[in-house]
Every structure is written in structure tokens, then in C-alpha cells.
């Protein structure tokens, strides 16, 4: 047998073998520190098992030893791409326990910064997802826009990513007057970028070939796994907590809940891009209807909610962000459970990736939009 023949036989054998391969924890496609133990046969994935915990920081345990206001900045570090949403979910739970009425102006400001946050998060996802599929340019385009929006967030909150802006009973400070003209311009730009992305990426034949029919999640399976956010809506279930269980002042705004039909990676991408447009719509309505008044309710210096418990959930860019808060009447939470949408959504990965090609696995993982800071907590 010649060397060439020998090599050929060996590669045949490798193709027949089932190999166990590690994706991550240090792999660019895992968006953080996720390890996936994959079993592959040739180019096909037989099974994939996520291995979590590399970023576990004992958030829930730490929270039991800190006072209620101290925990707000801690929540910023969970889903670090949507820090406002984390703060919102948390302060909402505390306010419910306290029975606290938040000033209307503060609610509107929360909606404005919250929806800006959703746009920021989806923009990054759009860039990173195109990058996952091998397109470098969209990443640079969306980052340009993201920078402008981050400047806006800095103007309002003083920080770029970990804001510590929401307070129990309101927000830290009012929107500065110079914010509004800048916001108007920024929203125009964002809508332009969404259209560009639509034309250059979503309607791109390569992008469609890489995402249509890939990673299909049927609606029944999505419910079984309690999937939420654009992933659930991509599968055709019109479930958005802003609509189906309105919190804050969301019942006053007119916006659509985009859904997909096939539940594949493509539909999830389309939903996210459309959600950017809807968020811009909500922000414009909130700015137009912004009432005058205080931005913080009167809150006692020491916050001690009466003994009891509450489960509140809000629609984060990734789905149902639930906070289960138990108080024993003391200055610290007795128990704080963080229902992270990324943690729940990631669980379905093996189901929708089984049988896929290795390259498509990257497309499927990217389409879930996980943030490991929130998965591992």
C-alpha cells in the first residue's frame, strides 16, 4: 500500500468514527466561556452537550447578604449587554413587594432607556451573528451605530455599559435637555442601519442559504422548553410580555410583535431586526408622551419590604427575565432567584443542533443569542 493509499484509508476510517470534540470554553463562536461537548461523525453533529458554570459568580448567594439598593449595580453584570433590563426586572420586583408607586415620568424614562438597550443588544447580535457566518463588514457597520447610542446612554446615565441608573422607586436623574435632539438623530440612523442590514445581510443569498431551514425549532418544542423572546416568536408564537402581561406603561404604546413561520435561524434574525424598528417606534411615542414631574418616588432610607414574595417578569432582549424575590422583612433579600432567558433558551441547543453540519452548529448557537454572564450568573 502506498502512502497516498494509506492516508486515504485513514481518512475513510476517521469519517466513520464518532469523535468527541470540545467547542470552547475558549472559542470565538461560543460568545463567552461556554463549553459544548460535541460528538461528530465526519461533518455531522450527532450530539452536543453544553457545559456551563465557567462564569458563575454566586450572584444569588451574594444578593442574600447585600441590602436591596446595593444589589442594583450587581444586576448590571448579569446580562451585560442589557444592563438596564436587568435593573428594571429587579427594581420592579422590589417595588411590587413594597407596594410602591413609581412616578409616571420615571416609567416613561425607563421605557426610553429600556428600548434603547434592546436596540443596542440586537445591534450587537446582528453584527456578531454575521461574523459567525463569515461576514466581517456588518459587524463594523453596527458597531459604528452602537458607539453613537452608547454615547447617548453615557449622557443619560454616566456610564456606557454598567449603568446603575434605575433606582427603587424611579431613576437616578432626569433626562438632560440635550438628549432629545441627539436621540431623534440616533433613531433615524438606527432605522437606516436596520434597512441596510436587511438589504445587505437578510436578503443576501449566502446568508439565507446558511440560515433558512437550519436549527428549526417547532412551536410545541419551544413551549416544552419554555423558550422565550425572539426565539419563541421566530417559531410563530406571538408571546411578548410587553403585550401579554404589560408591565410599566407598555399598555399605552402602539407596537407590533413580529413573528416567524418556520422557526429557523433566519426567522429569528428577521424577528430581531424588526424588533429594532418596533423599539424605535415605542421610544418615539414615549418621548412624545413624556409627562412632567418627579423621576423618583419618596423611598425610606432603609428599604425593608414586608415579609412576602413576588415573581415579576419582563421582556428582556433575550426573553422572559424573571425575578423571584422573597423577603423576610429584613434589609436584605431572603432569596433572590434570577430566571435568566439565556439559561433557559440555551437548553434546547442539543435538540435543534442534532444532525446538523458542524458549520451550521455555529449558526444555530449564534441564533440563540446567549449571554454567558446571565447563563452562569
Amino acid at each position: 500500500m502506498t502512502t497516498a493509499e494509506k492516508t486515504a484509508t485513514q481518512s475513510e476510517e476517521v469519517l466513520e468514527q464518532v469523535l468527541t470534540v470540545n467547542f470552547g470554553p475558549q472559542h470565538p463562536s461560543t460568545h463567552g466561556v461556554l463549553r459544548v461537548v460535541a460528538r461528530i461523525r465526519g461533518e455531522y453533529l450527532q450530539d452536543a452537550e453544553p457545559d456551563l458554570g465557567y462564569l458563575h459568580r454566586c450572584f444569588e448567594k451574594i444578593a442574600e447578604g447585600w441590602t436591596y439598593p446595593q444589589i442594583v449595580p450587581l444586576t448590571d453584570r448579569l446580562d451585560y449587554l442589557a444592563a438596564i433590563t436587568n435593573e428594571w426586572a429587579y427594581v420592579l420586583a422590589v417595588e411590587k413587594l413594597l407596594g410602591l408607586q413609581v412616578p409616571e415620568r420615571a416609567e416613561y424614562i425607563r421605557v426610553i432607556v429600556g428600548e434603547l438597550q434592546r436596540i443596542l443588544s440586537h445591534l450587537l447580535w446582528m453584527g456578531a451573528y454575521a461574523l459567525d457566518l463569515g461576514a466581517t463588514t456588518p459587524f463594523l457597520y453596527v458597531f459604528q451605530e452602537r458607539e453613537r447610542l452608547y454615547d447617548l446612554m453615557q449622557l443619560v446615565t454616566g456610564a456606557r455599559m454598567t449603568y446603575n441608573y434605575l433606582r427603587i422607586g424611579g431613576v437616578k436623574r432626569d433626562l438632560p435637555p440635550e438628549f432629545f435632539p441627539l436621540l431623534e438623530k440616533a433613531l433615524d440612523n438606527v432605522l437606516k442601519v436596520a434597512d441596510e442590514y436587511q438589504a445587505l445581510v437578510l436578503e443576501n443569498v449566502i446568508f439565507q442559504a446558511r440560515t433558512k431551514g437550519i436549527g428549526v425549532l417547532p412551536p410545541d418544542l419551544a413551549r416544552q422548553y419554555a423558550i422565550s423572546g425572539p426565539m419563541l416568536r421566530g417559531s410563530g408564537v406571538a408571546w411578548d410580555l410587553r403585550r401579554s402581561e404589560p408591565y410599566s406603561v407598555y399598555d399605552r404604546f402602539d407596537f407590533a410583535v413580529p413573528t416567524g413561520q418556520n422557526g429557523d435561524c433566519y426567522d429569528r434574525a428577521v424577528c430581531r431586526v424588526e424588533e429594532i424598528r418596533q423599539s424605535a417606534r415605542i421610544i418615539r411615542q414615549a418621548v412624545a408622551g413624556l409627562p412632567a414631574g418627579e423621576v423618583r418616588a419618596k423611598v425610606p432610607a432603609a428599604i425593608r419590604p414586608p415579609a412576602g414574595e413576588v415573581y415579576t417578569a419582563i421582556e428582556s432582549p433575550r426573553g422572559e427575565l424573571g425575578v423571584y424575590l422573597v423577603s423576610d422583612g429584613g434589609p436584605q433579600p431572603y432569596r433572590l432567584k434570577w430566571r435568566a432567558p439565556s439559561f433557559v433558551n440555551l437548553q434546547v441547543l442539543p435538540e435543534i443542533a442534532r444532525g446538523a453540519k458542524v458549520a451550521d452548529f455555529i449558526a444555530i448557537l449564534g441564533s440563540i443569542d446567549i449571554i454567558l454572564g446571565e447563563v452562569d450568573r
Binding site: L221, A226, Y324
Partner: protein, 153 residues
Amino acid sequence: MNLEAFLTEVKSRFPGASFEQAGQDWVLRVPAAEWEAVAGYLAGHGPRFDYLSSLTAVDRGDRLELVLHLRALAAGERLTVKTDLNREQPEVASVTGIWKTANWHEREVYDLFGVVFRGHPKLRRILLAEDFEGHPLRKDYVDPRRRKVEGQA
């Protein structure tokens, strides 16, 4: 059928169960022995609680309380279900056969509280390392690496 009527029906079927309204939410308490049976009933009857938002536990000092947060997507209802577990030997049937999403939630509760879920397909730690000792979300857990400062109580 409203939720209260449905819960009354659940109670007549499972005599150990009781329910109450806490704020806007309804809380159903069931004995640990009927945990899986009640869960299966809730998922398939009445408003059909087909969506398990979260499964977690609370260390109440004298017992471990297991908590389910359920949704019925079509009916738009919410329900909290609870059961008490013995702190020394917390064991309960797994509900992974009813809601697949329970898998990782149960692994997390096993990891952080030490609750054993009978019938779970792969009950292993999920957030902490495999060789980690103890269950840190229990109130009596003491971090072995914690050092006391002199003079501190």
C-alpha cells in the same frame, strides 16, 4: 372556567392540596408525594399550564420549599406551585417528563440546594464544579475558604 374554580377541582382530586391568593397570584400547595401527579394534571387540564417559567427552591430553615412558576400561554394564566421537602433528605419526583425545560432547573436546584430529583435523566451539578462540596444556597452553608478577621463575631 376561572382559575379559582380550576384550583377547587384540583383540590377535590388531590385532597392533600390547598390553595390561596397572594397578591395577584394564586399559590397551590401540594404534598411532596403528589408533586409529579399534580404537575401532570396542571399541564394537561383546565387552562393547561404548558409553560414552566421557573423551578427553584427556598431554604426556609426548617424545610426546603420547592417552587414552580407556571404559565398557561393560551389562557394567559399564571400559577405558583409549592411543596415542602425534608431538609435532611430532600427527595422528590422529577417533572422533566412533563416539562422538558425542568431538566436544567432541577440540576441547578440539586447543585445549589442538594435536592435529589427521582427519575431525572442526568442529575449532575450544573453551575458548580463536579468536585464541589456542599450546597451553597442553603442558609447554613459556610464557605470553607472564608477567613475570620480577629475580633469579628
